[in-house]
Subunit: 115 residues, 2 copies
């Protein structure tokens, strides 16, 4: 998708701190972290948000959350735990129209409402 | 699972305000709502949290989030949007050890960090 910042990251047209990747999903550090650990998990297929995910895309949807679980293990978050936040729509704080799951852990430096 | 409050709700051994149900998932209003709209979406199979979901349970995992999308439509949240929050582990604010996805929308009466 032209002019989509996350598509550019996926296509290596923009730099980012990628910490995980598989066939369906990529994950990188948020450039404005709201917590000690703040990772964005993004499907490689451009979907604006959850409302655009069809019933026949269960595999893709599950891949996003299984990646989150994998990343949490990779970052040793077992003991401290982690929050996953998915904003759907501008009114809920979604700023970039490419589905992204926030993985957050540790101390927060902003209220989660603003994430 | 004995003594699990969400299993009791699923089995109708405890009352709750159920707003959605299908074969895999049930959803009911949080009894202590932290926002105007605060719904809990729960898989009928007892799983403590996301870390207990296996790679062969993609169908179940996807069902939770597709249910969230359905419920948002049912509640007409299209314009105002909604947030989905999944806490994994005590340190991240998970209080009940049966996986539950928070669906939140409208005005919050508590910081999301405490949800």
């Amino acid at each position: 998708m032209e002019n989509c910042i996350f598509c550019k990251i996926i296509n290596r047209e923009m730099p980012s701190d990628i910490i995980y990747e598989n066939e369906q999903v990529i994950a990188f550090k948020d450039i404005h972290p709201k917590a000690e650990v703040h990772v964005l998990i993004v499907p490689k297929k451009h979907r604006a948000n959850l409302n655009e995910i069809d019933d026949n895309e269960k595999e893709l949807l599950a891949a996003i959350f299984l990646a989150a679980k994998q990343i949490a293990q990779q970052l040793n978050l077992g003991a401290q735990g982690y929050k996953l936040v998915l904003n759907v729509g501008r009114g809920a704080g979604q700023v970039i129209d490419h589905l992204h799951l926030h993985l957050l852990s540790g101390t927060y430096n902003r209220p989660l409402n603003e994430i």
